[in-house]
């Protein structure tokens, strides 16, 4: 399949004149990525609403089209044709620029993820650094959105979002640095190449990789402002955070950027820990590699929806406590475990050394984090 796609691209490029080949080649790489992920975004909004409905004992959207499959189309039409309201005292230019700028980094983040053997839009030497550098600019843009709205809720939401993103960027980067250390490269293509040949070679199948994967997933959820870390846009407290003063298509852009950011993080998690586009068993190699990638992608997105349907929103102090008291020390210990794994020969001895190290620190940090908190069943005086 990859060979077929590459052949098609080469064939089209052959037909084009010389001076068009460079832009056309990149266009042919960019267009599928953007269209595929925009399609997945539309589908995900529907699947998410259906899944959340089922989790909450209801049916979910089922009016537009068979089983509600056309719901994203209806939502999109509604968003586009809605009136675009800009507050009178808003900073017009910054207010206008923020949603547009926010989509750019999230789209750019997809350009370094390998989707198949030779299907990577750009193989950058410092690919993972590019990913995080681009992701880091989202904070500034969220600030722009919140500040320019001249709304207290928007400002509060933006400050919450920035505090949260900065805090969780640290464990996110630290947990992926372990992978970089073990693979010896910043290029995502090289990192995937290290994990060839069955799921026992994936990084998630090692003790440090498993812990790193969980840390990465948690931090990715927080980075993309998703439940249970959605306090920047907590509807019941501050309306919609930095998106409060946006309506119509601009709001849709924020929504799109949020989901695309989550997808990019998911793609990175697959690349770093789940063996990228590799099949779990060598005899399954005949299945095209992109299918494996998107299969893992679907599983992770389903997991995110499941988590969203289950966990309640954290409080601000709990959120910060989790990041600074638990996740950062834990990711530093993952470092040590990675180094131990490397020097203990990656065999049984390494397992024996690493597992108690990580388990022990998990138990210690977990109890330290929850110490002093009395968790008891809540008693309702009137509701029961």
């Amino acid at each position: 399949m990859e060979a077929l796609l590459i052949a098609i691209k080469a064939r089209i490029l052959e037909l084009a004149p010389e001076f068009l080949q460079f832009p056309l080649g990149h266009l042919l790489s960019i267009t599928p990525v953007i269209s595929v992920f925009a399609g997945i975004f539309a589908l995900t909004t529907w699947i998410e609403r259906k899944g959340l409905g089922r989790i909450q004992n209801r049916l979910g959207p089922n009016r537009v089209g068979p089983v509600g499959i056309l719901q994203p189309v209806a939502d999109g039409l509604k968003m586009i044709f809605k009136e675009d309201v800009v507050p009178r005292s808003a900073d017009k230019i910054v207010h206008f620029l923020a949603p547009i700028l926010l989509v750019i980094p999230t789209m750019l983040a997809f350009s370094v993820i390998p989707y198949g053997n030779r299907l990577v839009p750009i193989d950058l030497d410092a690919g993972i650094l590019f990913f995080f550098a681009i992701g880091g600019s989202a904070e500034l843009i969220v600030f722009m959105a919140g500040w320019s709205s001249r709304n207290k809720y928007a400002m509060l939401g933006a400050m919450r979002a920035i505090a949260q993103m900065i805090s969780y960027e640290v464990p996110l980067i630290l947990s992926s640095i372990v992978v970089i250390m073990m693979a010896g490269s910043l290029s995502l293509v090289d990192i995937v190449a290290v994990q060839t040949g069955g799921f026992w070679n994936w990084h998630v199948a090692t003790p440090w990789g498993f812990v790193g994967f969980l840390l990465f997933l948690t931090a990715a959820l927080a980075e993309s402002n998703r439940s249970p870390f959605d306090i920047p846009e907590a509807e019941s407290e501050i309306i919609a955070g930095h998106m409060t003063e946006y309506s119509g298509f601009k709001y849709a852009l924020f929504f799109l950027a949020e989901y695309l950011g989550l997808f990019a993080m998911t793609g990175l998690a697959i690349t770093l820990f789940l063996g990228g586009f590799h099949a779990p068993f060598p005899f399954l190699n005949w299945v095209p590699a992109p299918l494996w990638f998107f299969g893992k992608f679907a599983i992770l997105v389903a997991l995110f929806i499941w988590i969203r349907g289950t966990l309640p929103r954290l409080r601000m102090d709990q959120l910060m406590g989790l990041a600074w008291k638990f996740m950062i020390p834990m990711s530093l210990i993952t470092f040590a475990a990675g180094a131990t794994w490397h020097y203990a020969g990656k065999g049984l001895l390494a397992w024996i050394l690493c597992t108690p190290m990580l388990l022990g620190s998990y138990v210690y940090l977990g109890t330290a984090l929850t110490k002093g908190q009395k968790v008891s069943k809540r008693v309702y005086r009137f509701a029961d």
Partner: protein, 211 residues
């Protein structure tokens, strides 16, 4: 231990998700416009005006006393009294409201108007599908739209309506009895007066000299 609660919660939601496909116990909602849950008898929404008999504008029980207008906390009722008395359902002359409007965008369904009405003329409806395309006119309901027959009231709140009917019937009976008694007394008085008059005439006649 950190994390056990998360796993427990995830298991519960997974049970909900899978159960919603196999066990109807896990699906608590219905497909609203097609399927409906039967309404409870004590269900109440915006008020309406009760009339007796066939003609809505004739049989309105409301006598435009304006107590409900004064009592309404959000002041959503507007009443204008008719200048002239009109015969009502039983043919008795009564005041009637010339205008009786309720703004249901303001009404909060508190039922105070029903509590204070001395004539059982205003009652709570169960109708809830009142959405309109116009924010102002469509939600201001006038007396023609508000008037609903007593049979309708019996249909939506049978127990309550039966009580009210019994009370009203008792009232009517009492009033009839009173009226009958009064009529009887009147008749007796009349008869007496007539008798007296007759006696008087007789006496007069007797008094009158023959010549």
């Amino acid at each position: 231990m950190l994390g056990t609660g998360i796993i427990k919660g995830m298991a519960q939601t997974a049970k909900n998700f899978v159960g919603s496909y196999s066990d109807p116990k896990y699906l608590t909602t219905v497909e609203y416009p097609e399927q409906r849950v039967p309404t409870k008898e004590n269900n109440r929404n915006f008020p309406f005006l009760v009339f007796d008999g066939e003609e809505a504008m004739v049989g309105l029980r409301c006598v435009a006393c304006q107590i409900c207008e004064k009592e309404c906390p959000p002041q959503c009722i507007y009443i204008e009294k008719d200048k002239n008395k009109k015969p009502d359902f039983v043919g008795k002359d009564q005041f009637q409201p010339a205008v009786f409007d309720i703004d249901i965008s303001v009404c909060m369904s508190c039922q105070i108007c029903v509590e204070v009405c001395p004539f059982d003329a205003i009652k709570m409806d169960t109708e809830f599908e009142l959405s309109q395309t116009n924010r102002f006119d469509g939600l201001l309901i006038n007396k023609h739209q508000l008037a609903k027959s007593n049979d309708y009231y019996r249909g939506i709140h049978p127990t309550e309506a039966a009580e009210i009917d019994a009370a009203r019937a008792a009232d009517v009976k009492k009033a009839a009895a009173k009226a009958a008694a009064k009529a009887k007394a009147e008749a007796e008085k009349k008869a007496k007066a007539a008798a007296e008059a007759a006696a008087k005439t007789e006496a007069d006649a007797a008094d009158t000299p023959e010549s």
